[in-house]
Amino acid sequence: MLGLEKKDIRILLIVAVLTLFAPFILNPFPAGSGWAQFNAGYPDLMQRFVIFGIFAIGFNILFGLTGYLSFGHAAFLGIGSYSAVWMFKLLSMNVLPAIALAVITSGLFALLIGYISLRRSGIYFSILTLAFAQMTYALAYSVLTPITGGETGLQLALDDPRVLDGASTGSNIPVPGIFGLEMRSNSQLEMGDWVFNLSTGYYFSGIIMLLAFYLSIRIFRSPFGMMLRAIKSNQQRLNYTGLNARPYTLAAFMISGMYAGLAGGLMAAMDPLAGAERMFWTASGEVVLMTILGGAGTLIGPVLGAGLIKYMENILSKINSDILHTWFAFLPDGLEDFVVSMVYPFIGKGWHLTLGLMFMAVVIFLPGGLVEAGQRISRIFKRKKTDETSKKSTTTEPAE
């Protein structure tokens, strides 16, 4: 089916179901309850989950398959956002042309930057991509202000031409939508104490992420993907097999740049503004964290990593010491203060510390990321089962 093997279909279905029901799965706690702050099912955050998921899926096609570590992928994200906002300004508030332009421009930039950067490998490649991204960032902040809006960012204005939509009537700036359906529209579904948000923007991005995910499975399983893995595995042998690695790495770089542009375009479609800080190198570092944390080179890892980091950024960071005190109120006073003071540095504003520690732990102990952790756990369970039923020895499957 769809040109995929059975186990890949299964992964695709799991992701599809999770995406479809995310508004429910992410809101497990009733609206008024004390746990409601852990609900992640609000449109803004869910959109970020899938958009950064796309970003990480794309990054994984480059880093996970070829092993080329780019530290400048945020540049393409920013370029995508700027392109989309310009499309909103000039052509139409319909998101489709905006996203199309975002993908095309970021693809072209990726072609240019990749063509130069891929002449080197290893750390030199990382530094080159970093240098390019920082240059783009600095230029967007300063000289290119007419195009990028500089420090304030690029915003929509009432008097933008919007050729296809015609001049805007009324005093409100129009919002992005798809054939009349507004991206920001959201219907709340109340079921007892629970409130679920069904947002157009989320489902639109979600469908695009599924398409992007499907495409990445196809790339992973294709001869092209095999060739990319061969590049990571042994470039020497590849050269002496009569293959020039450059066109393959360049294609992978361009594809992953286009994924980043798609994510950037979607960000602009959800909230039509674009700023240079999206291109800063820490943003590039973030997608590296997501991919590694989830599991570089695995299919589903980047999506998991993106979800985890965005959840921590938005939920963990909101916990303050008052909330902690209510949690540990059952403890005796002195102990309560002690526990709170021990936990406090790791949450709230200190969530980056937790992130950094987690990331280090993953690089040191779990090079396969969360996916490897999952595999190890399931292997333990499998072994237990087979022990209990005393069947034949288990065959350990190679890591996917």
């Binding site: 240098a131 300063s142 200190g350 040191i364």
Partner: protein
């Protein structure tokens, strides 16, 4: 002419910082073969050593001075630093005033220890892993270190002044025979440059003239051979890591008056220092120093208004632009050796 000298001078202090960080990075890379993304964090920790020491020195107790009253008529509360009690008022004030230079002494043992702990506790396990893994784990470590500093010192920059003698500027132009008031240069920046020159000289002298340095240089050239000679090279490399950390640390200490320390200053410098290392040539110490000063000065030239008028935005991108050009035309950097990181 004086404009050019001014720009060269302006570039020197930043160039010094780049050179010192790049020197440490290169020492670590050259000896241990590790790409250390946490090196900027060491620079930052150094700067916070200065903050810490000046806080310790100004640590005070309150006495009620009955002879004076505040505007409400109550007896005035006076904060008296403990150092006054220990050394008397005049010496105490002088010590507080000289907190930053004193921090050098304070920071060296701390930085040596931090470097030692980092190498033994983490980096050691990554010698045989791919460079990408080394970058990633030290990147994680850098995040952790800067978050720890943020937790204790907050997110805002902390002004840490230089000793009073060195505040203010002097007329460098008049001193060397140009017109007066054309080349005004802050004292502390000159101190920083002189300090950097001394440190760089010391490191080179150490590597050149001591047996220890000889072994390390031999190890940088060919690690296996030196290992075969029965020299415990690992131990020496640990010490080398400590030294590199100390160099970054004191660079940070002295930089505190120029740029108030904040928790992300390390990362800001690291990205540029990496560019410096690559431009200078991975594994080349003279290359790192040369490229550090060169890029610092280039950056300040690019900030001249005449240049900006001609090429808007060039001051923002000049370093990266140079790096890209160098990497593409001279893949080994200005002074890189053959066979280093050429996978």
């Amino acid at each position: 002419m004086d404009a050019i000298i001014l720009q060269i001078l302006n570039g020197l202090d930043k160039g010094s910082a780049y050179a010192l960080i790049a020197l440490g990075l290169t020492l670590i890379f050259g000896t241990l073969g590790v790409v250390n993304f946490a090196h900027g964090a060491l620079f930052m920790i150094g700067a916070f050593c200065a903050v810490t020491l000046s806080r310790i020195l100004t640590w005070s107790y309150t006495v009620i001075d009955e002879t004076k009253t505040d505007f409400l008529g109550n007896p005035l509360k006076v904060e008296v630093p403990y150092v006054h009690g220990l050394f008397g008022q005049a010496t105490g004030d002088a010590i507080i005033d000289w907190a930053v230079p004193l921090s050098i002494l304070f920071s060296i043992p701390i930085m040596l220890f931090v470097g030692y702990a980092m190498e033994r506790g983490l980096i050691k396990h990554f010698y045989k892993r791919p460079h990408a893994d080394q970058i990633l784990v030290t990147f994680g470590l850098a995040i952790v270190l800067q978050e720890i500093i943020k937790y204790f010192y907050g997110a805002n920059p902390i002004p840490t002044p230089a000793p009073e003698v060195f505040t203010g500027s002097f007329d460098f132009g008049a001193m060397v025979g140009f017109e007066a008031n054309q080349i005004i240069y802050p004292y502390w920046r000159l101190v920083y440059f002189g300090f950097a020159a001394v440190i760089i000289g010391a490191v080179f002298a150490f590597l050149q003239f001591t047996t220890f340095g000889m072994v390390v240089r031999a190890g940088m050239a060919d690690r296996e051979t030196v290992g075969l000679l029965g020299i415990n090279i690992d131990k020496r490399f640990t010490i080398m890591f400590g030294i590199a950390a100390a160099v970054a640390g004191v660079a940070g200490v002295m930089y505190a008056p120029i740029n108030s320390p904040n928790y992300h200053m390390g990362m800001d410098f690291l990205v540029l220092s990496f560019v410096v290392v690559v431009v200078g040539g991975m594994g080349s110490l003279p290359g790192a120093v040369l490229a550090g000063f060169l890029l610092g000065i280039l950056e300040s030239f690019a900030s001249m208004s005449a240049v900006i008028d001609l090429l808007p935005g060039i001051n923002q991108i000049i370093i990266y632009l140079v790096a890209i050009i160098i990497l593409l035309t001279r893949p080994r950097g200005l002074m890189g050796r053959k066979g280093v990181m050429e996978d």
